[in-house]
């Protein structure tokens, strides 16, 4: 792989990651968010595959396949596991209007560039140069968690946060050891399954999945 092609591919993948995160904040339809999440999973897998090909590491290619399977296919499938007709109608009414939300994402992205350059320097390698993107994804995930009312939209925020952490892991250190990566993917999958079950129970008990209804317990 030539140096420019590698740079461009890394740029393309991280650009897709950032774009999908911003779109997730902008779009209110649940189905659109899930599709964006799937696209983001594919972009993350592609990023890892590109890095693996550049460094000639078979292990990274294996991780890339694992990420593609869990984040690109399995998790979105679990989230969308409902009839298409119902899921199409689910709209989120977030606490923040789209303009304010997109502006916040921009500010968070700038903030992550500032933080990363202050903290560890933007690095010399192509990959660590893109590390702030991961932090921006993490912060955007937090934004979604805070501003969304529906249980499944919060779940999408959590998954965005997790994708962000994976991005930082791969861009700063070429990924954590394979065994840990496997454990992390399994953990995230289980958390999503558990919250999915809770969402179902919530729908049975409250007739909806508005998290604002959960306010009986307080002091």
């Amino acid at each position: 792989m030539t140096e420019t092609l590698y740079t461009q591919l890394v740029g393309l993948c991280t650009g897709t990651l950032l774009l999908t995160s911003a779109l997730m904040v902008w779009r209110h339809s649940l189905l659109a968010s899930i599709r964006l999440l799937a696209a983001q999973g594919v972009a993350l897998a592609a990023l890892i595959a590109v890095m693996g090909a550049e460094e000639g590491e078979a292990e990274l290619l294996l991780v890339s396949v694992l990420i593609l399977a869990t984040k690109g296919v399995l998790l979105p499938w679990v989230l969308a596991h409902q009839s298409k007709a119902t899921i199409r109608t689910i709209e989120e009414s977030p606490r923040l209007n789209p303009t304010a939300a997109l502006l916040t994402v921009t500010l968070l992205t700038i903030l992550s560039y500032v933080v990363v350059s202050q903290l560890i320097g933007l690095g010399t390698s192509v990959a660590s140069n893109a590390a702030p993107i991961g932090l921006a994804m993490i912060l955007t995930g937090f934004l979604l968690l805070i501003t969304r009312r529906r249980a499944r939209s919060q779940l999408i925020g959590f998954l965005l946060l997790d994708n962000g952490i994976a991005t930082v892991a791969f861009l700063t250190s070429g990924g954590v050891p394979l065994l840990l990566e496997f454990g992390v993917s399994l953990d995230v999958l289980l958390v999503v399954l558990i919250l999915h079950v809770f969402t179902g129970r919530m729908r049975n008990k409250f007739g909806g999945t508005d998290v604002d209804q959960l306010r009986e317990l307080h002091d």
Partner: protein, 482 residues
Amino acid sequence: MEFALLTPLAIPVILAVLSLTIDSAQLRRYSPVASSAAVLVSGLLLIGPALERGGATSLSDLLRADALSSYMLAVVGAVGLVSTWGGISSVAASRGRTAGSYGALLSLFLAAMSLAVLADSIGLMWAAIEATTIATAFLVGHHRSRRSLEAAWKYVILGSVGVAIALLGIVLIYAASIDTDTPTLSWLVLSQSGLGLDPALVTAGGALAVLGFATKSGLAPMHSWLPDAHSQAPAPVSGLMSGVLLSVALYAILRIQTITNAVIGPDFLRVMLSIGGLLSLLVAASLLIRQRDYKRMLAYSSIEHMGLMAIGVAIGPAALPAVLLYILAHGLIKATLFVISGRILAVEGTPVIADVKHLLARRPGMAIPWLIAMSALIGFPPFSIFFAEVGIITAGWSVGMGGVVGAALVLLLVIFAALTRLTVGMTMGSPPESEPFVADRSAHGPRLPIILALVATASMAFIAEPVGTLLLQATAVLGGTN
């Protein structure tokens, strides 16, 4: 001794599978108790070699038990035994539809905590702590009411987001080691000084990892899941979560602290942990004064004790033996109290303190152990919590953190008054003569685990050999020689 590293993981998993597959009420009742016993015995077996040779038992690069790990494993087993044995479900309940999965999840919870304290890699430790969230999610929501669903949702979201932040921290610590000869996640290697880790990355990574694990250990301001989860979960689960899950997260903080201390010195985390500890004491004090629910009262008391332990960790090696003694004493007492609170809830049918009056006259069988355990929790001698608190405060004074421990002492006094008032409100006095009653002397469950826990907490602080030696050895593992 290598097999003792595997038994606390294998036996609970096997028992979990059995209680899911075999439809036997007795098996389902006793499998969590047997799992706890297996963890306790393994811990005690591992303490032997750790004391004798001052060394550690290890198995490949993944599992390792030094004095600290084996001590924590024994604590998990002991607290687990008190919680599961004391809160053993009735025969009728263990014929229910969800009984199999309940027992299985309890066993898996114990296995996950054992893995967290035995893992040599901070990555594996992270995965095990995240696995505790997974195992307890359904246990918190076990009663399937609106409130328990709310508690479970908050717990899983906050718990996994907190632990995800810790993962980011661990990733950064790994990134710091990538330029050294051996990129690694093993805390044994990372905590050696002179490894040449990048200080900026270790600072950021350490701060994030401690922030994440602090969420899991219930330190303010990330504590908000704790009172809900502890008050809604079934009694044995609350006992285990409060008694050991919080301290297992604190154990993770201790391991991270060893790594950051070797690279950037102790001051950075000291400030962070002191603030977290004092905030926790403040939150606990302000919410205990007007508390109305006795299970939430115990939950806020957990926040208080974790706060004081965090201050102890901030103080450093001088306070660490006291912190470790504290972990055991708090675990045993909190498990006892949650078990009794479960029995009170089952008999009285209300979690509201104002509705449970004159307990000592009406139900002495439950009120007497409750009173003894409450006085241990508040910090009366001869119970170990008293000695642990005194140890932390004097250590803080001696290393020049007088301001922090002074503030902590004032808040402790407020908490002392609040808890005393609430306990007196529940137990003392006698019902008006117009309400005839027969004193109920039944303990409404096994007495032995409660007696054992109280006796152990009362005597532990006086045993220099092997308890004192073990605590000093465990402190030495963390890079301090007292």
